[in-house]
């Protein structure tokens, strides 16, 4: 593989990944980066690329990837969204290990910190980047993003707008109820697990990142990029 190589992997080659080979002497330590979801995915692409590049400079092999139905990965968002995406973290970890990494760590941003929970035994370091501990606040934020994206439908009464687009939450083709169910199911568990995991090698990076902005503005927060990569 070249210095930076993009490819497809997973049982049906459905997942798009970009692998950053360690530039310095390889430590044999792989770092998997699990992106945030929905509008946060678009906004953090630049930051995640920079984090991957900085870790490669430090001698880590890094894999960043897109969940199925997002980014450059195949298909639509799966109906059983959380279990499918959580399984894909397992596939990505397997892929990273098979590329020669003896030790694995993970950087999980936002809701990915919840999705990665069941795999935490796989990872040496478990870096949560602004994990979701408060599912109500997170859903309120997603609702604000959803509503802002539809705000131009001004000739449609708000109630009708609300009804009409419930089955297409945040343009995903998936209902709000499906997403909310997963968020509430996993987010409470995130806090309990994090309380156990963080003292044992886990690192919680709290950033000043404006995740609450409802638009698709890019995150260029260099201090966050530095703090996440400094966790290694």
């Amino acid at each position: 593989l070249r210095q930076v190589e993009s490819f497809f992997f997973g049982s049906g080659n459905e997942l798009f990944g970009t692998y950053h080979n360690a530039l310095a002497h390889s430590r044999g330590h792989g770092v998997l980066i699990c992106p945030p979801l929905f509008s946060e995915y678009y906004r953090s692409h630049f930051a995640i690329r920079r984090i991957a590049a900085e870790l490669a400079q430090k001698g880590y092999d890094v894999l960043r990837f897109d969940y199925s139905g997002t980014g450059d990965s195949k298909g639509a968002i799966p109906p059983s969204v959380c279990s499918a995406w959580s399984n894909e973290i397992g596939s990505a970890a397997h892929q990273l290990r098979s590329l020669g990494c003896r030790v694995l760590s993970v950087i999980a941003a936002r809701f990915s910190a919840s999705l990665v929970l069941r795999w935490r035994a796989e990872f040496d370091k478990y870096v949560c980047w602004d994990p979701i501990f408060d599912p109500d606040a997170y859903m309120r934020q997603l609702d604000a993003t959803h509503n802002a994206s539809l705000a131009q439908h001004r000739d449609m009464p708000e109630a009708e707008r609300h009804m009409r687009f419930q089955s297409d939450f945040l343009g995903t083709g998936v209902s709000r109820a499906t997403i909310a169910e997963s968020v509430f199911e996993l987010a409470g568990e995130t806090e309990r697990q994090a309380a156990r995991t963080l003292p044992a090698g886990g690192i919680d990076v709290k950033s000043e990142t404006e995740w609450t902005s409802p638009g698709l503005q890019m995150i260029y927060a260099h201090d966050v990029i530095k703090r996440v990569s400094d966790a290694f």
Binding site: S6, N13, F16, T18, Y42, K74, R154, D168, L216
Partner: protein
């Protein structure tokens, strides 16, 4: 060892990452049919600072739909965006020209296409209009919410109904006291003077370049009826070369799946009707 695959294949559509120019660090995703071979290829360029997938994966859906109809494409990360490196010491216009020209060469090399259609949404539309004439083999341009000069009818369509609408006056009053945040147009576009922009359209149409101009409700501070662009560019230039699709129910970034699907279908039909 689990060997990753350089491409994903699904329903006869092949998707593969490609180094458009390895030395310049220019990256894109090529999408093409596994069986059909057209002679026209599409280059889809970034919308603002978003990477090559486009807002709400609009570009992914376009690339897959037109590949299904035999057209190859590159979803390009222009230099300094997505996974492409920046071009230091080069102006944005020069970089955009170099990026799109290089993507055309790459697409021709990889798929054998001889003609190109270039475009994108928002700044992608602006860049396409800016660099289009410099692309050898350009036969089409597509623009989502690109530039449209206003006309007398535009003002009539926009303000006429509101003059007699109590609701519109109430909304105006609310906006005046600062409680209404909807419908404000934020213009970050670096459009040139009206005459210069119209001249760009005319120059391309004179070269027999087909143009698809797609507008949404959020172009409503510059566009609000079908054929507005043809009227300002001039019917003698537009002839059958300029096509306008207007989606007043959709918003700028196409966050609604149904709206996105309609626009992508309209786009694919235009491609199939006009290009080999």
């Amino acid at each position: 060892m689990v060997v990753p695959s350089p491409a994903a294949v699904s329903d006869g559509v092949v998707v593969r990452p490609i180094d458009v120019d390895a030395r310049a660090g220019l990256f894109g995703i090529m999408t093409h049919s596994s069986h059909a071979a057209r002679t026209t290829g599409f280059i889809i360029i970034n919308s603002g600072l978003l990477h090559r997938v486009g807002p709400f994966r609009l570009y992914v859906e376009i690339a897959r739909r037109i590949a299904d109809r035999g057209f190859p494409s590159i979803r390009l990360d222009q230099s300094g965006k997505g996974d492409s490196d920046s071009r230091p010491g080069v102006s944005l216009a020069e970089a955009a020209t170099a990026d799109v020209s290089t993507a055309a060469i790459c697409l021709a090399r990889e798929t054998g296409v001889k003609r190109f259609v270039v475009g994108g949404l928002c700044s992608g539309a602006d860049d396409a209009l800016l660099v289009g004439s410099a692309i050898v083999g350009l036969s089409g341009l597509f623009m989502f919410d690109g530039y449209a000069p206003r006309t007398a009818r535009y003002y009539l369509e926009r303000f006429g109904p509101k003059l007699f609408s109590a609701r519109a006056w109430q909304r105006r009053a609310r906006a005046t006291v600062g409680n209404d945040v909807g419908g404000k147009a934020i213009n970050l576009r670096n459009w040139g003077p009206r005459a210069q922009m119209i001249a760009r359209y005319r120059a391309l149409l004179e070269q027999q370049v087909r143009i698809l101009a797609i507008f949404t409700s959020q172009a409503n501070h510059s566009y609000n009826y079908v054929s507005q662009l043809s009227a300002t560019v001039g019917r003698s230039y537009a002839r059958d070369l300029l096509t306008e699709h207007y989606y007043p129910e959709a918003t700028h970034l196409f966050p609604v799946t149904e709206h996105r699907r309609n626009a992508v279908n309209g786009f694919a039909n235009w491609a199939e009707r006009h290009f080999d």
